[in-house]
Every structure is written in C-alpha cells, then in structure tokens.
C-alpha cells in the first residue's frame, strides 16, 4: 500500500506540471488583461504597469520565470487584482475558511446522506425508501442559490436566530454548511442506495442471509464496503470541489473563503491568482482521488474475501 501511495505521489508531479503549463499558456490567449477596466489606461501607464509585473517579456520567458520562482521559492507572485497582496497571502487567509466550510458541509452531507441511502436500500419500495429519496431528489432539484436564501429568510430574518451573512461566530457556520451539504447529501444518498442494492442482491449476501446472519451484521460487515464504492469514487472529485468552496454559498453568506479567488481569478484575468488557485485545486484533486482509490482498494469486498 505504501508503495502504491508513493508511486501515485510521483505520478502527481507530471500532472501538476502539465496543468500548470497548459493553464499558463491558455491564460495568455485570453482576451482582455488584468488592467483593462471600463476606463482604459493610457498606453504609457499600461506599459509601466505591465513592466512591473513582467508582462512585457515574451510569454516563454514569463513562463520560465514563473516556474522558477514557484519551484525554488514556492512563490505564487503578486496578485494583479489586489495590488498590495501576494497570492500566497490571499490563499493562506482564505483557504482555511473554505476548508472549514467544506468539511462541515461534507460531514453534514455524509451523515444524513449515508443514513438515508442505507435505510432506503434496506426498505426498498416502502415509505422509508420513497420519503428520503424524494427529499434527496428535491435537494438536487433546488439549487443552493435558492435553498441558501430560503434558510436565511426563515432562520435569520423571520426568527432572528442567525446572522444573515458573515463568518464571525460559531453559529455563522450552521446555515452555510447546511446549504452546501444538502446538494451533496442528495448525491450521496442516491448513490448509496443504488450501490447497496447492487450488493444486497449478490450471492455472498444471500449466502450470509441463508446462514442466518443478523441484518445489522449483513449491513455493517458485508454490504457497506461494497455498496459505497460508487460513493467513494464520486467523493474524490466532489471533495476537492467542496473544500475549495462553493462560490454560490460563499457569496450568499458573504463568507471570506477562497472560492471567490478561484472563480474571480479567471474573470479578473489575475494571472498569478489563476495559476495559484488552479495549482491548489490540482493538488487537491490528486490527493482526494488518491485517497478515494486507497479507500476503494481497502473496501473492495472481493479482495477482502480472497484473503
């Protein structure tokens, strides 16, 4: 297993390198630059500003300089949108917030999603199946830009128990985490139900049932690991998405997370920020997919049975 993980980490290096390279050159093909505003700079001013950020050099050299600073110093450069801040500083300040929000949302989603999915699969085609699955479908149908404001209207404005926006007190975490988690909860519960049904119909479960194993034992010992395979493959990429934050949730609740940078960087043509966020995201994707694969191998019931 350790060898497998080490191998994957080595494989990640070319992935990150390719992602950085493609992004860098794509970025330079984008129309509009970081300093284009409604009131254009005079050519003289623009020349000076671009010289400061090294944008006057040939793209190949810019790329070389960027990679050199990145590899040698881990320096992602100065933001071209927030003039007084470096990308490292901005991400260091905002990523923890997004990570926290993402993890809280994920815990919410996992707890209720797994619970609903397992119950539904065990009581297939009964009310305990239809009710949670309908709620799950609703969770997918109603986008978070609707659930978020609804939760705020009810709990923050009507009842006055929460702040409508901000990220200052512990209770400020509850509504955003629910909003973010609902959507993933829906996915998880549906995939869980589907995966569990596959497993519950397999021969070894029938065998176990025939041998008179208790239902609890069947679920925990035999079905869960195989049934959650698809959930785990889904969670790999989903977690990287959820922990880099959901832009919609961060905007609705005015949370100072990193998602604004992730999305805003492309819109602002903030090159260093775009590179920085893309690389962070790529690292997360690689790590989460690796984790998902590790968990998958560990969970594979066939491999287990062979032992």
């Amino acid at each position: 297993m350790l060898r497998f993980i080490l191998k994957r980490i080595l494989e990640a290096i070319p992935v990150l390198f390719i992602v950085a390279t493609i992004t860098f050159f794509l970025l330079h093909r984008m129309p509009g630059g970081p300093f284009d505003t409604e009131r254009p700079m005079t050519p003289e001013v623009k020349k000076q500003v671009e010289a400061y950020y090294g944008l006057d050099k040939p793209v190949a050299q810019q790329y070389f300089n960027y990679m050199k600073r990145l590899v040698l110093h881990g320096d992602l450069g100065m933001s071209q949108k927030y003039f007084g801040w470096s990308v490292n500083e901005l991400l260091a300040g905002s990523l923890p917030v997004s990570l926290e929000l993402g993890l809280e949302g994920l815990l919410f989603a996992l707890f209720f999603g797994l619970l609903a999915g397992i119950i539904a699969s065990l009581r297939k085609n009964t009310a305990s199946d239809y009710v949670p699955m309908s709620i799950a479908t609703l969770g997918i149908c109603i986008p978070n830009f609707v659930t978020g404001p609804l939760l705020i209207l009810v709990f923050a404005i009507y009842f006055g128990q929460f702040n409508a926006s901000g990220w200052n007190f512990p209770r400020d975490r509850i509504l955003p985490a629910m909003t973010l988690g609902l959507y993933y909860m829906a996915y998880i519960s549906r995939l869980t139900r589907g995966g569990m049904l596959e497993i519950l119909n397999q021969d070894f479960i029938r065998t176990a049932r025939a041998k008179g194993a208790s239902e609890r034992r069947i679920v925990w010992k035999h079905s869960l690991r195989g049934g959650l395979l698809s959930v785990v493959s889904f969670l790999g990429p989903a977690v990287s998405g959820i922990v880099t934050g959901s832009l919609v949730v961060e905007l609705i609740f005015d949370i100072p997370g990193a998602a604004r940078f992730f999305v805003g960087a492309a819109f602002n043509r903030d090159g260093p920020m775009l590179m920085g966020t893309t690389l962070v995201y790529a690292v997360l994707v690689v790590v989460m997919n690796l984790l998902a694969d590790v968990v998958q191998i560990w969970m594979n019931p066939r491999l287990r049975f062979e032992e």
């Binding site: 000076q48 003039f83 705020i152 009842f159 926006s165 997370g257």
Partner: protein, 548 residues
C-alpha cells in the same frame, strides 16, 4: 391594487416559510441583539461597501469602494461639505488665488498631524504628487493632475526635472500650485484621492514608493492624516477604521469606528440589512425597489447621481455608420417606459449625455422621440420600414439589468421601426475588449463623472480619447473641447460646451438612455449622511442617534 396583491403574496410566502420552520427549530426563543443595535450604542457604523478594495493606497487604486474607505483615512488640501460637497478647508485652512486664476497658494494648518504624530507639511503633498506622476508607478489617475503646469510632461517622461512642474513648497506650511489654464473646477478636483497626501517615509519603509506592490497599506503600518485610522483588514470580510486620536478636527468626529463590509451580492446585502447587520447598504436589488417604496419608504434612499446610461454606436460598421440610422434607432426608444417599467428607481430619461444641472449646465440640444421622423430617416437611409436592413447587434456585459433593457429596446426597434436586433452578451473583460477593438455595432455603456463639470462627460468623444471607443472623430468637436478648456469666463465656457454637445447629439455616436440614480437603504438613526450627486459622504460629520 397591483401593489396590494403583490404585497399580500409576499407576506403569505414568508408566513408559509415561517410555519414550515416552526416545526423544525427553536420554538419561542427571543430575538438576539443585532449588530446595528450594538453599533448604535457603541457608535460603530456598519456600512455595506460593494466589493473588496483592490488596495487602499491612493496612488494605485481607481475604484469608488476604495475611495469610500480612503476618505476616512486621508485628507487632502481641501475637504468637502457633507451636504453639497463644495470645497471647504481641509489640511489647508485657507487658500489664495492669483488674479489670472492660474496660481493657487494653500496655507496649511499647523495642527494637521499624521496618525504617527508627525505634522503634515507642504513637502508631504509635494512628494506625494511627485510619486503620483512618476511614470514607473503607472498611476491611472495621474491625469487628474494634468491641469497643473508640466505635470503631463513629467508623467509621460518628456520632462525629468520635477522642479519644473507647477508645484512649489514655499515653506513647511505653504504650497503653491500653478496651472496651465484657469480651471474653474480645480478645487473640486482636489477632492479626488489623487490629491490626497501619503506618508512617504512609511512607503519607503515597506517597499519602493515609486512601484506597485508596496505593502504599506496594512493595519499597524498604514499612516494617514484623516479622521480615522486603519484598525483591521480581513480580505473579503471587513475593513475596520477607528477614530483618530491625532486628527486636527477630532472634536467633531462622533463615530468611534466604521466597519466597511465588501458584500458583493446585492441580495445578500439587502438581507443583511433586514437582519440588522448594516446601517447603510451599498446598493439595492432592482426587484426590491417597489417593495420598499410601498412598505418601508423611510429607509429607502433614491437620489440623482452623476452617471449616464447610454449605448455606444460603432460608426465604422454598416448600417449604423449612417447618421440617419443612428438617429432613427435613438428616436425609437421609449425611455419613459424603460425608466418607469423596468429600472423603476426614479431614473430620469436621458435625451442628451450630460446629466442636467452638472455644475450649472443643462444641455439645450435634446433628442426627440418621434417614430414618424425615425421612420422617415430610416427610409432616407434606404431602409423603408426596416426592409433590407441587416440585423443590428446589441452587445452588453452579462448582468440581468442590462439584458432586460436590451431585450426591451430590441422589441421597440422591431415593433416600431421593423428593425431586427440581436442580443450578444459577453463576460466583462471580453466585452471591454470587444468595445475597445470596435468589434461591435451597438454596445451598452455607462459613464460616471469624475468631477462636477460637463467636461468630464464631453471630453470623452475627442479624437484619440481612450474612452471614445466609437470610431467617431470630428475635428470641429475636438476644437470645441480645446476651446472650452481655454475659455476663462465660466458662462462663455458653458456655451462652448452647449455647442459641442449639440454637435454630439446631431452626429449621435452615442444613444443616451437614462440618468442613473443612487439607490440604497439607510437606517433612520444615521445622522449627518446626505445624498449628493457624487455619492461622497465625509464621515466626520456623521453620528448615530438611536430612537430612545
């Protein structure tokens, strides 16, 4: 009647939500004390401020949000009256103007102090202005100084000796500024942040003052001379400023602190206001205007603002390269209906470019809305009833309000003139790029005056102006704008502008649509905050008086 039914449905809606929620949470717990209630007690103002500032260094930034924060941290030679913004003494306690109105001598007050206790001197201003004009800084607003002798030459590198520019330190407390032309709006210019001083020793300490990327603008480092000092800056969260103990007029300052919140989404901001987290919002979602008008008019603020909403026309592209087509299109827009039925914020239909009453100027040349005449013009151009006319493309940057207006105009052109229009939306920077490279036919635009004078609207359209972006060039117009700048007599000068704008309205490289209003919410306990045309609100006059 319609109002009533809408109101009812809204209330019923909220009640339903409320009922649904009752089952799930906390029956019968009391409301908590809100942020504004705490703020009223502690004299802390909670202010929605749009987006995260790019920086708060006056020599680097250009935006309005940044300006609103810097206004609390820095003070220029002159400051503004809170009601009508006329220049009042700031760091300069008085000033003399030479008879030819080209030389201004500012006398600085001796109790003006930086937040680190050092006195504010004439040299501080001189050094800041030199910095703002130094080419390597690449300061976008350096042109605000171009009325000063040789400032432009120094900024473009044609002149390397700053001593030859029109700024002169007579002594520690006297600064002399020499202008190229008598400029009636010069004192209004001084309110702009490009004329604010910065504490150069601080800038030197944290980087190169003549380059970007200086990190002096952090709490603990920022040295200012305004009525407040920087206390906290959490990116995308809050900027907090606290009352300055060194400010010369500190007796007048009533607020203990101001918290600026960069809330990007207008819906989020409005909800935060309702939940009692903001005293004043930055804006209000258009769909909420009617609700507040009928239900809570006391907090709704609407007032005219020095901004025009218009369409640029690319005069190099057929069929809109024909002046008659442009005029026909302009005449067929029902502005009253757009203002009344779509934007609904008390905006004023625009039949010319410069907002009426800008520094005493109201354009006499007014566009007529006349369908018959429009059809006549279109026929003359070779498109009777729009027949044979290729579709016109309307470009706008993606925003619901722009789209709605474009959809309405598209329909007006179609039904009234028989002209087909296609809508094209682009993401902001792509849209700017298309506009700049004249890759459009008709394109949505807006312009906010930099200062209270028609020049800020009319000098855009000169040949080679970076803001022209219509391909339109007219030597007579260029000549008029130069002539206006050289005209000493204020009344005569405005007459020159009348001629220029009449010419602009005849050639129609732009189609005016309406004059903006500023719309936001403000709680009644906020005192000393006045609506004005530039939307500037000096904080030192403000206070919070909660009803007992």
């Amino acid at each position: 009647m319609q109002f009533a039914s809408k109101h009812l449905s809204r209330r019923r809606f909220v009640h339903c939500l409320g009922a649904a929620a009752t089952f799930s949470l906390l029956p019968g717990c009391a409301k908590r004390e809100t942020l504004v209630e705490v703020g009223d007690r502690d004299l802390v103002l909670h202010l929605g401020n749009g987006t995260e500032p790019q920086d708060i260094d006056p020599g680097v930034v250009t935006g309005v949000q940044e300006y609103h924060i810097m206004m609390s941290l820095l003070e220029g030679l002159v400051s503004e009256d809170p009601v009508d913004l006329h220049p009042v003494p700031g760091v300069a306690e008085r000033w003399d103007v030479s008879p030819d109105r080209r030389v201004y001598t500012f006398h600085l007050r001796d109790n003006a102090k930086w937040s680190n206790g050092e006195p504010v001197t004439a040299r501080d201003f001189l050094e800041t202005y030199q910095r703002n004009l130094t080419p390597s800084l690449g300061y976008e607003y350096s042109y605000m100084h171009f009325v000063v002798k040789n400032a432009e030459a120094y900024n473009t590198g044609k002149l390397t000796d700053f001593n030859q520019c029109g700024y002169k330190v007579i002594d520690d407390r006297t600064l002399e500024v020499t202008l190229d032309n008598p400029t009636p709006y010069f004192l209004s210019l001084l309110l702009h942040h490009s004329w604010y001083p910065v504490h150069m020793p601080t800038l030197r300490k944290y980087g190169d003052p003549y380059q970007r990327g200086n990190r002096w603008t952090r709490p603990g480092r920022y040295v200012g001379n305004g009525s407040f000092v920087l206390a906290k800056w959490r990116v995308n969260d809050v900027i907090e400023v606290r009352k300055s103990p060194t400010y010369w007029d500190r007796e007048r300052v009533k607020l203990n602190a101001i918290r600026f919140y960069p809330i990007e989404s207008d819906d989020t901001e409005e909800r935060a206001f309702r939940a009692g987290q903001l005293h004043i919002t930055y804006t209000l979602p258009p769909s909420k205007i009617e609700y507040y008008k009928t239900n809570n008019a006391a907090v709704l603020q609407i007032f005219p603002f020095l901004t025009t909403y218009f369409y640029r026309v690319n005069v190099t592209k057929p069929p809109v390269n024909d002046k008659r087509v442009r005029k026909a299109l302009a005449m067929a827009i029902d502005r009253e209906s757009i203002v009344k039925d779509i934007v609904k914020g008390g905006e004023i239909p625009a039949f010319n470019l410069t907002p009426p009453g800008t520094a005493g100027y109201t354009c006499r040349a007014q566009l007529r809305e006349d369908i018959a005449a429009a059809k006549q013009l279109l026929a003359e151009a070779g498109y009777p009833d729009g027949k044979g006319m290729p579709p016109v493309e309307i470009l706008y940057n993606t925003l619901e309000s722009h789209r709605t207006i474009a959809e309405a105009i598209q329909e007006m052109w179609k039904t009234k003139l028989g002209v087909d229009a296609r809508l094209v939306n682009e993401e902001w920077k792509v849209y700017l790029d298309s506009q700049r490279s004249l890759n459009y036919q008709v394109c949505r635009a807006g312009w906010t005056g930099d200062y209270d004078d028609p020049n800020t609207f009319l000098d855009l359209w000169t040949t080679g102006s970076g803001n022209n972006e219509t391909g339109w060039s007219n030597p007579e117009y260029d000549q008029l704008i130069v002539q206006a700048a050289a005209t000493v007599d204020p009344q005569q000068r405005l007459e020159v502008f009348q001629k220029a704008e009449a010419l602009l309205m005849d050639e129609m490289p732009i189609i005016p649509i309406y004059f903006y209003t500023r719309i936001y919410l403000q709680r009644p306990e906020v005192k000393g905050w006045y609506s004005n045309i530039l939307d500037n609100h000096p904080y030192k006059y403000m206070s919070l008086e909660a009803p007992k």
